[in-house]
């Protein structure tokens, strides 16, 4: 086995492996990337029914109630970003840190009837912590400017209105 032949073998092996890795990654990306959306974005640009998205926002105070579908307990609540609220259905036990008026992220898909079916609901470990996505959304819609102190109390969220309509053009830019 000459040095040159060995090098050739190594190069072939490397190219084959890295190439298949890249191929697999791209294929997996194209079908498995999960976009984060706020309720208003979800309403404005509804994704395909089988597409998984992460829906983030605050749980509307007083919206949590329970239903039973086919003998399984379903938690129903609304998630809001201050612009729009979406009804979310989740079968299972809500995480320990789930509170009305606090931020959550729901993983699932939008149904034809406009409700969101979550397969997973995440609440953050720290109760004073706000998911970055939600904080960004708050800033984007003009409800909170970090320069002027702490974030507004979450329970007041769905009753607030945006400061100026100019945020709509912004949402087009960042929302797409």
């Amino acid at each position: 086995m000459k040095r040159k032949t060995r090098r050739l073998w190594m190069v072939i092996a490397c190219v084959a492996c890295i190439g298949s890795a890249a191929g697999l990654t791209l294929r997996a990306f194209s079908s498995n990337i999960v976009f984060f959306m706020a309720p208003s974005q979800l309403k404005a640009h509804p994704p395909a029914a089988d597409r998984t998205v992460r829906l983030g926002g605050m749980v509307v105070a007083g919206s949590l109630h329970r239903e039973t579908h086919n003998g399984e307990p379903v938690n129903a609540f609304q998630i809001t970003d201050g612009q729009a609220a979406i009804e979310v259905h989740f079968t299972g036990i809500l995480p320990d840190l789930f509170r009305e008026g606090q931020s959550v992220v729901a993983l699932g898909s939008l149904q034809r009837d406009g409700d969101f079916t979550a397969s997973e609901v995440l609440a953050k470990h720290d109760e004073t912590y706000m998911p970055k996505e939600v904080a960004d959304e708050l800033k984007r819609t003009g409800k909170w400017d970090p320069r002027f102190g702490k974030a507004p109390d979450a329970s007041s969220w769905d009753t607030m209105t945006a400061k100026k309509p100019a945020s709509d053009t912004q949402s087009l830019k960042t929302g797409g």
């Binding site: 086995m1 000459k2 040095r3 060995r6 073998w9 190594m10 092996a13 490397c14 492996c17 890295i18 298949s20 890795a21 697999l24 990654t25 294929r27 997996a28 990306f29 079908s31 498995n32 990337i33 999960v34 976009f35 984060f36 992460r54 329970r66 039973t68 003998g71 399984e72 307990p73 079968t91 299972g92 036990i93 809500l94 320990d96 840190l97 993983l107 995440l122 953050k124 470990h125 720290d126 109760e127 998911p131 970055k132 996505e133 960004d136 960042t174």
Partner: protein, 659 residues
Amino acid sequence: MFGPEQGHFALALACVLALVQFVLPLWGAARRNGRMVALAPYLAVSQLIALAMSFACLVLSAVRDDFSVQNVAANSSIAKPLLYKITGVWGNHEGSVLLWTLILGLCGAAVSVFGRNLPDILRARVLAILGGVSAGFQLFCLLTSDPFERVFPAPMDGQGMNPLLQDPGLAFHPPILYTGYVGFAVPFAFAVAALIEGRVDAAWGRWVRPWAVAAWCFLTCGIALGSWWSYYVLGWGGYWFWDPVENASLIPWLTGTALVHSAIVVEKREGLKIWTVLLAIATFSFSLSGTFLVRSGILNSVHAFANDPARGVFILGLLALVIGGSLALFAWRAPSLTSGGLFSPISREGSLVLNNILLCSICAVVVTGTMYPPFMQLLFGRTISVGKPFFDSATIPLTLPLLLAMGVGTALPWKRAQLAKTFSHLYAATGVAAIGVVLCFWKLSGILPVACGILAIWVIAASVSDVLRRLGLGHTGVRGMIARARSLPRSSWGAALAHIGAGIVVLGLCGMSQAEHAIVEIHVGETRSLGGDDWTLLDVHDRIGPNYKAMRADIAIHHNGRLVTIMHPERRDFTTQNQTTTEVSIHTNLITDLYGVIGDRHGSGANTTYVLRLHRNPLAPWMWLGGLVMAIGGAFSLSDRRLRVGAPKRSSIRNMARA
């Protein structure tokens, strides 16, 4: 004597000692100044003493409930049990950075003590590099995340620790995991020292491998422990979430595994030198960026400790310095390293190369999946995430050839192999794997789980048959085999054990892919069945714990009318933190885990219902047991005589003569 100020001073002292340890030995080695070179081990040990003192001060402040210390006030409280007062020290950002530097100091001291047979100059350079890294992180600790900061006025009681973190599993998870992360600093330092020296030979491979194996063992244990913790504490029924924090430990594990294997080639055949040096640098770089990028909140996740930009800038600078510096040195010096022995693609070396390429490809996939979302966020402002489906579909197809090669590789001889002869060694393993095919198609569903299951059985069978072949099965009698077992190098036993462990882990993962669960809402006395078991909710009652109130359920599980177990899942309400936790109840017979969680209570009186989540997880314990077997295999190979004593004497004489 052990107040926070003393601790702060000790930390500053350690930082200065580390700086001296960085500068003097390097200078001495360049100038061939024997005194400066000889100073390195003493500096490393004294740095460790100062760090231990500093850490002891922080632990004592927590034990004494000294709430004038900001860190203690924010993370502890009087009511917290003593064990968690101690372990809570590293449950937060500042404390964990201090623990990190303490372990790095420990590594330096270990090199000084166990590295007596290294050439003096090499040891001095290794210690200098470790000192430099140490100094950087101690500065980080002192300047941006001081664990000894005082508050005035001191609060009467602390804010307490997140009840989720009050768990013995988590208490020992960070030290073990950090030892794994930090342990890779030693191979890194060896690599940088070799680049400075411009020489990598078989002896270097023999010196660096035990350190890499030791770090790898700890990292393996740490990952397994972390996964086990999230399985039984978080109560989601899952074991791995492809969370950035978890990936941050998996990435260095992958390159570390590659390093442990490629160092064998350096040691035995003097091949793959440049590649091994690069792997050593990459592994530690991934460890560093894993711990600190994640901790600084750049990759946002549920685990993020700190969200402070000053820290972020400092840590990014430090990372750029360490990683960029070592890579620049690599680019400059690596071409001077000559490559060694020739081998054909079908040989032990060839299989190790394939192992390395595949491990690095998997690593590249995991890195992409972990870094792509934050980069998209940073560059284009789009928030996306990738999760389990992505990682499953991208990594498993690459794992399959890896498992296949694992079985073949150990049966191949060095340099050149004859395929026919090799396959004659593998008949037995192939036979077992054929039985595995039947078993997997019968028990598992889905293409990938079946394929992984078959290959895992293949790996285990091939490893066992390899050991038996080396023991001379069929050639010698029982007595001869025992004699051969005694003389068989421990590293061979270790390799076989580690491979069997990997097979067991994969089987556990395959089993978990067949897990079943049900979410039910039932009255007391009702029964539901899941996977052949009948789960009956016998009773639910309230219980008062030391700092919580709990709702405790009694669930009886019958299998074909025979009582299997009565389990008691709990839901605990921590009033001070306004937080609830679920205490999972798990019954295991090492084949199947029965896993019960109690959720909310609804209604009142006779109409009260409870939400329960019931899981049946086949082979779940195998995932962690397999991890343990892998680590034991690593430890076995560490205890090999050849790794501890050997050739170094000769070259150290040569070095001294040169000096």
